[in-house]
Amino acid sequence: MNDLQNALLAGQFRYILPEIVLAVAATGIFIGGTFRSGRYLWSWAALGSLVASLFVLTITAGFVLPSGEAGRTATFSTPLLFDSLANFVRVLAIVAGILLVLFSWNEVPDRHAADYLACLLVIIGGVGLTACANDLVSLYLALELISIPTYILLYLPRHDDAAQEAALKYFLLSIFSSALLLFGFSYLYGLTGTTNIAAILHTLYGQGGGDMPAVAQIALITVVAGLGFRITAAPFHFYAPDVYQGAPTVGAALLASLPKLAGFIALLRVLGFVTPDGVLVPVAGRPHVLPGMALSDQVPILFWFLAAFTMSLGNLLAVLQDNLKRLLAYSSVAHAGYMLVALAAAPYLSERSSGSDGVHALLYYLVAYGVMTIGAFAVIAFLSTPERPVDNVEDLAGLSGSHPYVALMLAVFMFSLIGMPLTAGFTGKFLIFFGAMNVVGEQADLYRWLAVIGMLNAAVGGWYYLRIIAVMYLRTALRPIQGRRNVPGLVTLIVCAVLTIGLSIPPGANVLLDAVKNATGIKSTPSPIAQR
């Protein structure tokens, strides 16, 4: 290790100040919680630390990154990289954290509030670090930083059988997936002799892309399987319905959003969909190799199957559900499938040649999905009281009469999940399927079929989302929903609803699309097709 590397390593700390802020705050809340309980106090503290972290992030984002020789050395040696994609995801994670804190304001019992909020802060820090990871080890640590607090968080609030079962299931299957992930990582290390992601990609790409040695393919599959657990890709999704149903609503919302974000970012990083400058050098004779192909030709095929399987299974099983949280769990599986379509098509697309880009579509959809899913869970939490829980679809009957505005917002979320125009869900689906339809070359037919499968799935999805709307508006309740005064919960709802619509129409849509392009555009390697 030379001096430059040492200097770069030492310099990394100032870039992870946002995460450090969160970690310090989490520690403080953990310790403080043993002396004083009370959800409002610690909620304010968590909210303050999130805002502070966001503020610090805006400052650190302005720091000059190493460039030239130092930049190249940093790319190939440091465990963390702070490109615009990382910053984009960190902002998303913190905003999601703020929404979740508001969401849980009145939901978490006083006794557990401090622990819950501290865990949440650690998870958000973990998502931020995942986005920055440039090394298999740091990536794995960051992912565990998300997992371990999640176990606590699921176990904390309730001690009934369902909650314990949910926490235990999640724990067991999570470590199983981590084992798969580590297995893949170890193969990658064995293949290339380094744990640095940029170096791994560089080395593997140096062999010319295309068909990879079998060992690399095994690594690829196990890594995707391990991360597939987090993004609830079938067949690694089995925990989701059981865990969401058993977990408190806040926990389900968290599970449905943050790990998925982290999982997809990790996929983008490890498989080289987004890479720092200089990692992928176009090879003479293979001008068509695109970033996602860095590992092999098999990546798109793998994602093709994964996407088709995931969205179909999620939608088919969601049709049968009566329990709202289970339904949303399958819905989150289905949406993971749509996002995988974007990843499957990404290697064949580039912004400049076809006007669509798989990674952009994926990032847009992640935001849209997060907003509408958190919003949908927030409605359930907002309406549930211990005396009259809202568990099943039928429990929403007559909502339009008792809570017209909440019903309207839930309808907005449902329409967005269906993918009706004027909602973020529509724009996201449009970007994804448009991308799949835009694939040219030998694979064009294959991807057109994938888009068709996706659209059929969206139609099936319409059935169970519309059922919720129908129950709200067309049925009357035997016992009207009471609801209670819950200003922060209402704020969460309104923010989500406004974003759901606002992100699909100008100027919101343009702002988000520009941010997405900026996140991948600056540091990613322009695709060789675009360079022609």
Partner: protein, 658 residues
């Protein structure tokens, strides 16, 4: 700002539109019986601005304002890709004349309606719809491209639907409204296809200027004829020409002011306006013009024959409207021989449109006044001899009837004779299809005689003979209030004098030529300034025929009242043919409506039992598959882990052994 019309041109449709919006929102709750003020205000405001536009247009000589030969304002309405659809307005001579006609008559009718609609529960709704109509109609004539024109075209159709079905609780009114809307839509399909063809073939532009300019060098003559005929089919629907004329008589179910405004003076003339506006296109396609002229003459004769025997006063007037519109189209279709004739022809058509608006609005309002006094009865068999009971109505109706019949020196006389003169010229030996045009000329003259007869038949039946009042009118049948009679008087003055002022002096034609025809038509199309030489022979001839018709009516319905019945008995077949509108409605019903109803029933059966069944079946598929795979989700964590492992194994197989 009043010096430059570009600043207020947009206000002409905007004022009535604003009135419509305000009445629509506040009418029922707040304005109620005061709703008419806004409507009248909007109409009169638009009328004043229209007169200002007229004077501004007449002030334009050659290329004045901004190098344009007409007044024009421009906004972008929408653009998609590289296609811009501007929302642009323009005012040239034709538009100015139409504007003045529409807003002036519209204002008078709005005032009249205050008395006529008094006490109706739908009072605000009526005035909101009338205002909306005025907005759409003024926009229609102000449009500078086919898209805005089409939008306004549909707008007036909508208002017509709303107002014909104004008394929607009455089944006949609701049916008539639907019929009016659907039948005109049939023509609109053609119009829209024509617009699309223009768009595709004339370089993806729909602005009049560009289209007419490009049409000049357009070499696909057959396609041009098709385009013209498609445009004309829109006019056939809107202006109630054969075979789509069947909706107009039924539209008399609407309130009488509506019949006067929409179904006599303005909306139904939109088709005439469209064809006149597109003269640069039609001028290049004489075959299309011949079709126009033939359909027009046929419609004029047919409608006049039907009008002979109708017993409903308003229906007589409705058929006379169809017939007179036929005259206008006859003129438009006759300008084939040379370019000078074309110019005379279009000005003659617009002149007839102008005078017709006065006298026909007058007649309808008069009929409305009769209906008002008779307690809603309009069947001429139920009343007679009303000339002493309704003196003002009687005299004004007489003015209108005289103008319609073409009594010399009244307004209809001048304009109708110009049309006949044009047709006769088109029939001069040696010109295009001269034989046919000569035939059409004689049809036109014969129709003039029929017109004199049926008009005065209605007049004599209503106002002469022994005084008879239906019991619905009660014992206090009386003249209408001044708010109704005043517009009648104003219109009567117009009906009597408009022709005399504008006809022999040539002002009307001169104005149109200078500010519309000359700049609009290609230079080479007009050899020199068109002359409005009056054809005194035609005048004499048609006057004699018309007066004969009037005299026959006098003879049959005043001197020898029994004669009419005996004639009807003598020619039962012909009489029944006319009375039953040549069985055209029945023909359409059995040939088009019936088969379609059967088809619809079939489609319904197929949809309900076969399509729905299939859809339901397909809908069950996801749920069925879901049931099939559900057992996998059995809640056992070890099983889940196993499946995950199997999944990984499956991917190994799929990827490695591919």
């Amino acid at each position: 700002m009043f010096s430059d019309p570009r600043y207020y041109l947009w206000l002409i449709p905007a004022l009535p539109l604003l009135a419509a919006a305000v009445i629509g929102v506040l009418g029922k709750a707040i304005l109620r019986d005061r709703s008419h003020w806004l409507c009248i205000g909007g109409a009169i405001g638009a009328c004043i601005l229209s007169f200002m536009t007229l004077s501004a247009v007449s002030g334009l000589e050659g290329d004045r304002i901004d190098g344009h030969r007409c007044i024009r304002i421009y906004y972008t309405w929408f653009h998609a890709g590289n296609v811009d659809i501007p929302f642009s307005l323009q005012a040239d001579g034709l538009t100015a004349v139409m504007l003045v006609t529409v807003t002036f008559i519209g204002s008078l009718i709005a005032i009249y309606s205050v008395g006529y609609m008094h006490g109706d529960p739908g009072f605000p709704r009526f005035f909101a719809a009338v205002s909306l109509f005025l907005a759409s109609m003024t926009l229609l004539v102000l449009a500078n491209n086919f898209i805005v024109l089409f939008a306004a075209w549909e707008g007036v159709g909508l208002c017509s639907y709303l107002l014909v079905g104004f008394w929607y609780a009455k089944p006949s009114a609701a049916d008539a409204a639907r019929k009016a809307f659907l039948v005109t839509r049939l023509g609109d399909v053609g119009l829209f296809l024509g617009i699309l063809l223009i768009w595709v073939n004339f370089g993806y532009s729909l602005e009049y200027d560009v289209v007419f300019e490009r049409a000049r060098s357009f070499d696909n003559h057959g396609l041009l004829v098709v385009i013209c005929l498609l445009l004309f089919s829109g006019a056939v629907g809107k202006s109630a020409q054969f075979p789509l004329h069947v909706w107009l008589p039924d539209a008399m179910e609407g309130p009488s002011p509506v019949s006067a405004l929409i179904h006599a003076a303005t909306m139904v003339t939109a088709g005439v306006y469209l064809v006149a506006r597109c003269t640069p296109l039609f001028g290049q396609a004489p075959e299309a013009q011949l079709v126009v002229a033939c359909i027009a003459a046929g419609t004029a004769l047919l409608a006049a024959l039907i009008a002979l025997t109708q017993s409903d006063l308003k229906r007589v007037l409705a058929y006379s409207t169809i017939s007179q519109l036929g005259y206008m189209f006859l003129a438009l279709g006759s300008g084939t021989m040379d370019h000078r004739l074309a110019a005379v022809a279009v000005t003659a058509a617009i002149f007839h449109l102008f005078t017709h608006a006065f006298f026909k609005a007058l007649l309808f309002l008069g009929a409305g006044s009769v209906m008002h006094a008779m307690g809603g009865i309009i069947d001429m068999r139920r009343f007679s001899g009303l000339r002493r009971l309704l003196p003002v109505t009687h005299w004004t109706f007489l003015c209108g009837a005289g103008a319609l019949a073409g009594i010399p020196l009244l307004s209809g006389f001048w304009s109708k004779d110009e049309i006949l003169a044009v047709t006769k010229q088109a029939g001069q030996p040696g010109s295009f299809a001269s034989g046919i045009y000569l035939l059409l000329f004689f049809i036109g003259v014969a129709t003039a005689g029929l017109t004199g007869f049926y008009t005065f038949r209605a007049y004599f039946l209503t106002f002469w003979g022994e005084e008879k009042v239906p019991h619905e009118a009660g014992h206090h049948a009386h003249e209408s209030p001044p708010v109704m009679t005043l517009p009648l008087c104003v219109l009567a003055v117009g009906a009597v004098g408009a022709g005399l002022v504008f006809g022999p002096t040539g002002w009307f034609g001169g104005f149109l030529e200078e500010h519309w025809v000359n700049p609009e038509f290609p230079r080479r199309l007009l050899s020199d300034r068109a002359e409005h030489a009056h054809d005194y022979l035609v005048m004499l001839f048609s006057s004699i025929v018309a007066l004969t018709g009037v005299g026959a009516a006098y003879w049959m319905y005043v001197r020898q009242p029994a004669l009419a019945d005996s004639l009807a008995r003598a020619w039962t077949g012909l009489y029944e043919l006319s009375r039953n509108k040549f069985y055209l409605d029945d023909f359409f019903y059995s040939m088009i409506v019936k088969p379609l109803t059967v088809l619809a029933l079939l489609a319904r059966v197929v949809d309900q039992y076969i399509v729905d069944g299939l859809v339901d079946l397909v809908g069950q598929v996801p749920a069925f598959i879901g049931y099939a795979v559900r057992p996998v989700q059995n809640g056992l964590v070890q099983f889940y882990a196993l499946l995950m492992a199997l999944g990984v194994g499956g991917f190994f197989l799929a990827i490695l052994l591919r």
